[in-house]
């Protein structure tokens, strides 16, 4: 079938998210949709999926104008969507999530869970996505959760499948698997819309590439016509530096040293398993690993948000294993948390207030009793300028910023002071190339200023681009330490998956 979006316009209070956007996709082809944060990609797709109703413009299926009152209509029309933020109920099992809305039922509307399991099995077998129907979503790694999303879509036999930034959370090997899946979908005659920030991937998998900027389509091209730099320029509207430029590290003395660190989660499962490592001043150490292998817990323990069950953490010789987050912060530790919405920001507060969230109490801003908001305001203006946060007023709510700019607020807050150690977790997740470039350069600047930097990212490209040393985490253990210059992404990916590259002695 052929799907046309014609002159779609959609605005939110104060934002024109889509401005007369026209796109089309047909069975058997992959359309890549690329654009900065806030360019309007998700909005456009939500319009297509019936979640939003457009202000104007229309959707045509095989030329027939149609309107979607709800997602149900879109689903019925054969449109499936894997959302940027997974639409999975964490406390439900895989099967329950998959059949939600099309539940097989027995007498009195009672759930036929056996049937549900079998439905999941059928689809996942057909497309070689193995899944345990009874696993709880909240216990599954993101990669698997994404499979569940895909199975959901396939189960409702969609003819056009939209993937909103699907690869952001995957390992190289998982990404390759994902591309296999996409291919098999295309072979099965389905049309695919593939939203991404990663130009490489777009070039690799897409038949056509459409670029969105500030809510409008600024151009359409094909992998054969365009290269990364060209597309990046279309996206951002200016030439972009894609590879991180940094000269080799000058490591100094140890700043962070972790020994025999073990952490259990509330249910008593071992999530960080007897880890030891060190980070020296002037170097960037990257921790690679598939999400859910203990990185989160490791970082939370290093930053004092989680109690260690065993082992010790030292900062510049002082034992800080039991120090409070604030003390660590005052000792010169910065923390860029992995989830900006959940931890990094209070989105209901102003940008200025968020810019001082971790040091509002310092004499600079507070006499211990009252706050000097004037001072905060001035400092914030400064930071916003230096760190290129796009806003017209630091007193606006943080919620009014786009993802990338929210992240810049956190980076500005955490890096804009004298540091001994910077711990950055997913520093550029879901952030557009323009911002990525900027954030990376800031991190490198910190390193060169003599800070010890620990990067934790599930995006291998990022870890490889930034790190001077890479530690690979798997099942709570550090399974390898490699030099990014001497090791291939593929090999690291294998470590991340728990196996060993050929030719590496066990």
């Amino acid at each position: 079938m052929r799907l046309d979006l014609v002159d779609i316009t959609k605005s939110f209070p104060g934002v024109l998210a889509n401005d007369r956007v026209s796109l089309n996709v047909s069975s058997g082809e992959v359309l890549a949709l690329i654009g900065e944060n806030g360019a309007g990609k998700s909005t456009l797709m939500n319009v297509l999926y019936g979640m939003y109703r457009p202000d104007s413009g229309e959707i045509r299926i095989d030329g027939q104008p149609t309107t979607f009152q709800s997602a149900a209509d879109a689903i019925a029309a054969g449109i499936g969507m894997v959302h940027q933020h997974f639409m999975l109920v964490p406390v439900f099992s895989v099967a329950e999530n998959v059949v939600l809305g099309v539940e097989p039922t027995g007498a009195l509307g009672s759930l036929d869970i056996a049937k549900a399991r079998q439905m999941v099995k059928e689809v996942s077998d057909k497309y070689h996505l193995d899944l345990d129907p009874d696993a709880l979503i909240e216990n599954l790694p993101v990669g698997i959760q994404q499979r569940v999303e895909i199975v959901k879509v396939l189960l409702r036999d969609a003819k056009v499948v939209v993937f909103d930034e699907p690869t952001a959370v995957l390992t190289p090997s998982e990404i390759l698997e994902f591309f296999e899946i996409v291919k098999s979908l295309v072979d099965a005659g389905k049309g695919v819309v593939f939203i991404t920030h990663k130009l490489k991937e777009a070039l690799h998998i897409a038949d056509r590439i459409a670029v969105l900027r500030r809510g409008t389509v600024v151009g359409e091209t094909t992998p054969t016509q365009a290269d990364e730099n060209k597309i990046a320029e279309m996206m951002v509207g200016r030439p972009v530096q894609l590879v991180v430029s940094k000269n080799s590290a000058q490591p100094g003395e140890e700043v962070l040293s972790v020994s025999d660190l073990t952490v259990l989660d509330p249910d008593g499962r071992t999530v960080v398993d007897d880890i030891s490592f060190a980070v020296r001043r002037g170097e960037i150490v990257g921790i690679a690993g598939v999400q859910g292998n203990g990185q989160t817990e490791l970082v939370e323990t290093l930053t004092g948000l989680r109690a260690a069950n065993n082992g010790s953490v030292r900062l510049g010789g002082d034992d800080i294993t039991v120090a409070s987050p604030r003390l660590r912060h005052e000792m010169g530790m910065a923390h860029i948390p992995e989830d900006r919405q959940r931890q990094g920001l209070v989105v209901g507060m102003s940008i200025a207030q968020n810019l001082v969230l971790t040091r509002y109490h310092s004499p600079e801003f507070s006499n211990g009793v009252s706050m000097d908001w004037g001072k905060v305001h001035d400092v914030s203006e400064e930071l916003v300028k230096n760190y290129d946060v796009r806003t017209n007023d630091v007193d606006n709510l943080a919620s009014t910023l786009s993802g990338g700019n929210q992240q810049k607020v956190i980076v500005a807050r955490e890096l804009s002071r004298d540091l001994r150690l910077a711990v950055a977790s997913q520093p550029t997740r879901g952030v557009d190339v323009g911002s990525i470039e900027y954030i990376h350069s800031q991190i490198v600047k910190e390193r060169d200023a003599g800070t010890a930097v620990l990067i934790v990212s599930t995006e291998l490209d990022e870890v490889m681009a930034l790190s001077d040393r890479i530690l690979v985490m798997y099942r709570g253990k550090i399974v390898a330490e490699v030099d990014p210059k001497k090791t291939s992404a593929m090999d690291i990916g294998l470590y991340m998956a728990g196996s060993k590259p050929q030719g590496v002695a066990s």
Binding site: A71, D73, A76, V89, N97, L100, V102, L111, D265, G268
Partner: protein, 408 residues
């Protein structure tokens, strides 16, 4: 390293608290309940009264509890922890009763009977709350729903007959559920505000209209409540039988409602979708589930259940309505929702804990304990406080409860 060897901070804290609790209970019964030599008569059935020496019992129990506590602290019962805690507490209560009743005797079975009977409005109110909150809408208005239902139930029941009274009560519960729905879902009013407003509205309207109408027409406010009905066979089981199966229909209604809601919530399509929209409505919405419609539906059903609970006063207990007759039971029910962890059975148990404490304090009133009546009166609330703090602790609410859902 495996989890059995090492415990997370949470677990250590929990198991430590349990151990400490057990020991404290043990010490208390050792110090106080062993004072009195007499034997206490627990009236179990017509003929049979179980006499147990409060002193002996307390001594044995004390040793057992302290032992268990120590073991818990030293090794830990692991899985069985809560079983031990529950049993320990139950025995402790019995020891307490034995102590207060020593030298006398009291009707133990009757006590349990009252416990179950009085749990009805709390249980039904709580289930109503669960139905709403599981689908993502906070229901602070339980008290108001109960009160209004009691009001209409009494009037309709007096004019027509008790059964119609129930129908009327259910209808008014549904009406208030609908009001909550329209305001909270359609007009997205702060759900807690709506709840409070509905509570005030019910209190005001029932008192005001009651005073203007019922005083004039007392015949509109008198009906004959249901009498107890023995369930064949089941009611013959000693102790359990009389306490659970020699009750009036409302008690059986509440059993059915609890069972049905549990099944409905965890075994049916509706239930699955309900829990989904309470946890993550967008997810359900993205799969074409009509979130708002389902929320309405649940609020109406919840209203009906609350209505049934309200009917208990006129039809199931006292045969009439009086100003503010529910006297805060709806808020106890609200507590039971949380205490019961948003699970119908949990709520039922929570209600029983509360009413058991009430029944016990009434017995104590008749027994010879030196405790001032004012403190006896606060006992049920105090017990709930302790139980919630000591055993229940942090409980996990439906994620999206309280947040209005917009399709865009």
């Amino acid at each position: 390293m495996s989890a059995t060897v090492m415990l997370s901070a949470e677990q250590r804290k929990q198991s430590r608290n349990t151990g400490v609790t057990l020991i404290i209970l043990g010490v208390i019964s050792a110090v106080f309940f062993t004072q009195d030599g007499g034997s206490a008569g627990f009236g179990l059935t017509e003929g049979f009264t179980l006499n147990l020496s409060s002193q002996r019992f307390a001594q044995v129990l004390a040793v057992a509890l302290v032992g268990a506590g120590a073991f818990q602290l030293y090794r830990g019962f692991g899985r069985l922890m809560n079983v031990f805690l529950a049993t320990g507490t139950a025995l402790f209560v019995i020891s307490f009763l034995a102590w207060s009743a020593s030298g006398e005797s009291f009707n133990f079975t009757g006590m349990l009977q009252d416990t179950v009977a009085r749990s009805v409005p709390i249980t039904l109110g709580a289930v109503a709350g669960i139905l709403c909150e599981r689908s993502g809408v906070i229901n602070i208005a339980i008290e108001g729903q109960l009160l209004f239902a009691a009001f209409t139930g009494s009037i309709v029941g007096s004019i027509l007959n008790p059964w119609f009274g129930i129908v009327g009560a259910v209808a008014s519960g549904v009406a208030l559920g609908g009001l909550l729905g329209v305001l909270a879902i359609k007009y997205q009013v702060d759900q807690v505000i709506v709840g409070f407003a509905i509570n005030f509205l019910s209190l005001g309207v029932t008192s005001f209209v009651g005073q203007r109408v019922l005083v004039t027409k007392p015949e509109y406010n008198y009906l004959t409540p249901f009498r107890p009905i023995d369930v064949p066979l089941l009611s013959d089981i000693p102790v359990i039988g009389p306490s659970m199966f020699e009750q009036n229909l409302f008690v059986y209604f509440s059993y059915v409602v609890v069972a049905a809601t549990t099944w409905w919530m965890y075994r049916t399509r509706w239930g699955l979708r309900t829990r989904a929209i309470g946890e993550y409505p967008k997810a359900a919405g993205s799969l074409g589930v009509d979130v708002l419609k389902l929320r309405y539906r649940n609020l109406l059903i919840g209203g009906a259940v609350a209505g049934l609970g309200g009917a208990w006063w006129p039809v199931g207990a006292v045969g009439r309505f009086d100003e503010n007759i529910t006297g805060g039971r709806g808020f106890i029910a609200l507590a039971a929702v949380i205490f019961g962890r948003w699970h119908p059975v949990g709520a039922f148990i929570a209600a029983l804990v509360f009413t058991l404490a009430e029944a016990v304090r009434l017995k104590l009133g008749n027994l010879d304990t030196g405790i001032p009546s004012e403190f006896l009166l606060s006992a049920p609330y105090f017990v709930t406080l302790v139980v919630v703090a000591g055993f229940v602790g942090r409980s996990r609410a439906p994620k999206s409860v309280g947040q209005p859902y917009t399709e865009q």
